[in-house]
Amino acid sequence: MIRRRRRLSCRQVGRSLQEFLDGEIDDDQRITRLREHLEACRDCGLEAETYRSLQAAIRRQVPPITSPELDRLRDFGARLAAGEIDADQ
């Protein structure tokens, strides 16, 4: 027997949209329903695209991950793991 799923309303999608885009929803059925709605609904699809663009633009502001501080920390961690540093000092 096939059970017809109720479509999500734009309001329901709007409430979950950011969580969905952040990968914070782990209910597979809900993910599918959200995806279906975003593909079918122009307004919600554009809304999602706007948030994706915003997120991508923010990510591009990330400073380079290579820095002397980070290199020293990686080295410090490796030396701790190798037992070369007395952690109780």
Binding site: R52, A57, I58, R59, P63, I65, F76, G83, D88
Partner: protein
């Protein structure tokens, strides 16, 4: 006295802690707004993690480390309060510098305009809003990990983050900036 051998401790540290050093440093930078302070904070966090690793159950190492980092930061603030109160004005040029360096000659004008407007809207967010956006969008933390790092409930992270993004969007709309929908998705 200690049932855990040095070798076990070192192996656990290598397995659970070393892969998280980059994330810890990024989070440290978001919290302290200063590379030298972030380095001190993360070094302190690594030492604390090393000492405590025999009490760690192996589940969710990042969340565990972020909690240690937050506690280490609270101690530092208590010790050196004046220097460690982040001054938002001081952080602004840093964000602006890194963003303007990123634009290449081929970047379409509309996209560059959008990026500049986003950067400005980001800077104008209040500190509390900006830090959750940084944790999730820049540092790649989950809502729960952000809550652990900041010591606030997950619901607070969600409401601040969602409000922050809506504020930024409104700011862009008010300036008449269109979203370039050709922005490639992150791999």
């Amino acid at each position: 006295m200690d049932p855990v051998s040095d070798q076990e401790r070192q192996q656990a540290f290598e397995l659970y802690v070393l892969p998280e050093v980059d994330v810890l440093y990024r989070v440290g930078l978001s919290i302290t707004r200063n590379p030298a302070d972030a380095e001190d904070l993360v070094q302190d966090t690594l030492l604390r993690a090393y000492r405590a690793i025999d009490r760690f159950d192996g589940r969710h190492p990042r969340a565990w480390l972020l909690t240690i980092l937050r506690n280490a930061q609270l101690n530092r603030v208590r010790r050196r309060r004046p220097e460690l109160l982040a001054d938002p004005d001081e952080t602004m040029p840093k964000v602006a510098d890194t963003a303007t360096d990123g634009g290449s000659a081929e970047t379409p004008v509309m996209e560059r305009q959008f990026e500049t407007a986003v950067e400005q809207a980001f800077v104008e967010l209040g500190e509390r809003f900006r830090e959750v956006v940084e944790m999730v969008d820049l540092n790649g933390l989950s809502y729960q990990e952000t809550a652990d790092a900041l010591g606030v409930p997950v619901g607070t992270v969600m409401s601040r983050l969602h409000r922050a993004r809506r504020k930024m969007r409104k700011r862009l709309e008010a300036q008449g900036i269109d979203t370039p929908h050709f922005v490639p998705r992150e791999a």
